[in-house]
């Protein structure tokens, strides 16, 4: 019995964790090439969720297509924030100004969504949440299978893209040394734009899959993003494998805390872990040699 509960919570944790991984990977990819944080990433998640919701409820689309719609919405938002914030501020060379500017964009988007969509949570139901399979005493919904399948496929594709394609290699080259990569005929501006678009597409897509799990309000993304920040730091900023590991870990912490303690303690546990990591192992779970700009 207990073993079944543990296994069940492990599955719940991995389902949730794989969505956190999608959100956190976006942050970590941007950090990798740009050494910047996009605070509005949270609102790309929220807007992705709303895009999927309206695609289904206003346009009568189906849920699987709505994930693709959310992905496109995320990509467009990413392109826009690069054009308006990151590209113009990159040449000023300030470490904190772009971060502060994206906090501005985030506040702006949240309040605009609050004005348009209102504070009352939207009920996002998919036909797949009701289809339940029972295997060895554990319950799976079709929704959770979709989440795991789509996330795993996306992460695998992304990994293959980074490791094996020319563009992926160029991206890693820019992450390692922007100037030298530029001398090798790689256009850093184009690759930075590509990274932000890709990352934001992941955020939008994650939004469409998180929406049935979360309470869908204009602030939905904020609760996810604070965990995603914790994940990227626990995993080591800019480290893809670490981020995947940390994302699943945080998903598991969440499901087991809900089972054995109190859901109210989730954020406290996650951030206590974050502060401990920062104090004792600031390089993250998987250390990567990375030169600090002294």
């Amino acid at each position: 019995m207990t073993a079944t509960i543990v296994a069940q919570q492990a599955i719940n944790g991995i389902v949730l964790g794989s969505l956190y991984v999608l959100v956190a990977l976006g942050l970590t990819l941007i950090y990798g090439v740009l050494v910047q944080i996009n605070f509005a990433h949270a609102d790309f998640v929220t807007l992705g969720a709303f895009a999927a919701y309206f695609f289904i409820h206003l346009l009568g689309g189906n849920y699987l297509t709505s994930i693709a719609v959310a992905l496109v919405v995320g990509a467009i938002l990413g392109w826009a924030i690069n054009l308006t914030i990151f590209a113009p501020l990159r040449h000023k060379g300030s470490e904190l100004l772009p971060l502060i500017a994206t906090i501005g964009v985030s506040t702006m988007m949240q309040n605009a969504m609050l004005a348009w969509f209102g504070p009352i949570p939207y009920a996002f139901e998919t036909p797949y949440s009701q289809q339940v399979f029972r295997v060895a005493g554990m319950f799976f919904t079709a929704q959770s299978l979709i989440i795991i399948a789509v996330s795993a496929a996306t992460i695998a594709l992304l990994y293959a893209f980074m490791k094996f394609t020319f563009l992926g290699k160029a991206l890693r080259a820019v992450a390692q040394d922007r100037e030298t990569a530029g001398l090798m005929g790689i256009n850093p501006s184009y690759l930075i734009m590509l990274t932000i678009v890709l990352s934001s597409a992941l955020a939008g897509m994650a939004g469409a899959m998180l929406a049935p799990v979360l309470v869908l309000t204009p602030f939905a993304g904020t609760t996810v993003i604070v965990k995603a920040f914790a994940i990227v730091i626990i995993g080591g900023f800019g480290n893809v494998e670490g981020t995947i590991l940390a994302g699943l870990l945080v998903g598991l912490i969440e499901s087991f805390t809900t089972q054995y303690f109190d859901p109210g303690l989730i954020d406290i546990f996650v951030f206590a872990l974050l502060l401990l990591m920062l104090a004792f192992r600031p390089t993250g779970l998987i250390s990567e040699r990375r030169e600090e700009n002294v």
């Binding site: 501005g104 604070v226 974050l274």
Partner: protein
């Protein structure tokens, strides 16, 4: 110091004295110019926000530490002082001192955790701290009553000076005078601090920590100090917020409050003291003036913050310098 420099310093300090006198005078007449309980409420909110912005500016603008946890210090000041009054029977001013001290010490605690971190790591660590504090306020129901909140928080006790009428802080004008007066005092003290060698030390660390350390400056200690001072000022704002509003709920200290305070500092001009004061006043009153556009008015915080970072990173102070340079025809000093 050369004679000219001494004369200039003398001129500036007398200039300052007049400026403080003028500010006190403005605070005194404001509730009689902007009358009615609506305006008195707004004025008091401005005063509280000025305190919050000054506290954050000392950490961000002078010590160069991006602290996204100001909402936590604000909340800790508010809850600690209120709980000491309502549960433990502390007198208001005793609870006030304890609330300020607690907020200041938690700033020191966070800084000790985070001083090794710079830039983005510190931003996220402080944000994490704010999330933890908000969650504790929300979930420690036996102490804070969680989302139900604490009600009927009494105003500060009346002051009875011999020969003068009793000053009751149930009167909103008196409460405004108390909070605005305190904000002016904090401004005065911070102004003294940033113009002292301590201020120069902090600026040196902000500009180039490595060089500052090589001059024998203990950068870590000074950053911890700045965090403590800024957090204590934020805590003081919380101690005043509780009796002013009369109720406390954890969501008043959600992390978005940190972003609002950040907007005030940046829009005003970080690294100056006068900038955040005007930033706080502008961003408090602007949404009120925009009530006609409904909920969309809250978008001004984000719009203002983004536009200022993109086009006028020195904020209102930089804008004012540019305008003054245009008028006098002198070249603009760098912000």
């Amino acid at each position: 110091m050369s004679e000219a420099a001494a004369a200039a310093a003398e001129y500036r300090s007398s200039h300052r004295r007049w400026a403080f006198l003028a500010a006190a005078l403005i605070i005194a007449v404001l509730p009689y110019v902007l009358t009615g309980s609506y305006w008195h409420t707004n004025l008091t909110v401005c005063a509280i926000n000025v305190l919050l912005a000054l506290g954050l500016d000392f950490i961000l603008g002078y010590a160069g530490q991006l602290n996204l946890g100001q909402s936590a210090f604000y909340g800790l000041g508010a809850y600690v002082s209120t709980l000491l009054i309502t549960k433990f029977g502390f007198p208001f001013w005793g609870a006030f001192v304890a609330g300020v001290a607690f907020a200041g010490l938690s700033g020191v605690f966070l800084a000790l955790f985070a001083v090794r971190l710079r830039g983005h790591y510190l931003a996220i660590a402080s944000l994490g701290f704010a999330v933890i504090v908000h969650q504790i306020l929300l979930n420690w129901i036996s102490l804070t009553q969680g989302p139900l909140g604490i009600y009927a928080i009494p105003p500060p006790p009346a002051i009875a000076l011999p020969g003068l009428p009793v000053i009751s802080f149930r009167n909103p004008v008196a409460l405004f005078y108390l909070i605005a007066g305190f904000a002016l005092l904090v401004y005065f003290l911070l102004d003294q601090l940033v113009r002292s060698p301590i201020g120069e030390t902090l600026t040196a660390i902000r500009e180039d920590e490595i060089s500052a350390s090589s001059l024998g400056i203990n950068a870590t200690a000074w950053k911890v100090f700045a965090f403590g001072v800024g957090a204590a000022v934020g805590g003081a704002a919380g101690c005043f917020y509780a009796p002013f509003v009369g109720t406390l709920v954890p969501d008043a200290f959600f992390i978005t409050e940190s972003f609002t305070i950040l907007s005030m500092v940046i829009v005003g001009g970080m690294g100056t003291l006068i900038g955040p004061v005007f930033g706080a006043i502008l961003l408090t009153l602007l949404p009120e003036l925009l009530r006609d556009i409904g909920d969309l008015r809250l978008v001004v915080y984000g719009v203002a913050l983004t536009l200022v970072v993109l086009f006028m990173p020195g904020g209102l102070v930089q804008a004012w310098k540019l305008i003054r340079a245009k008028i006098t025809g002198a070249p603009a000093a760098s912000p």
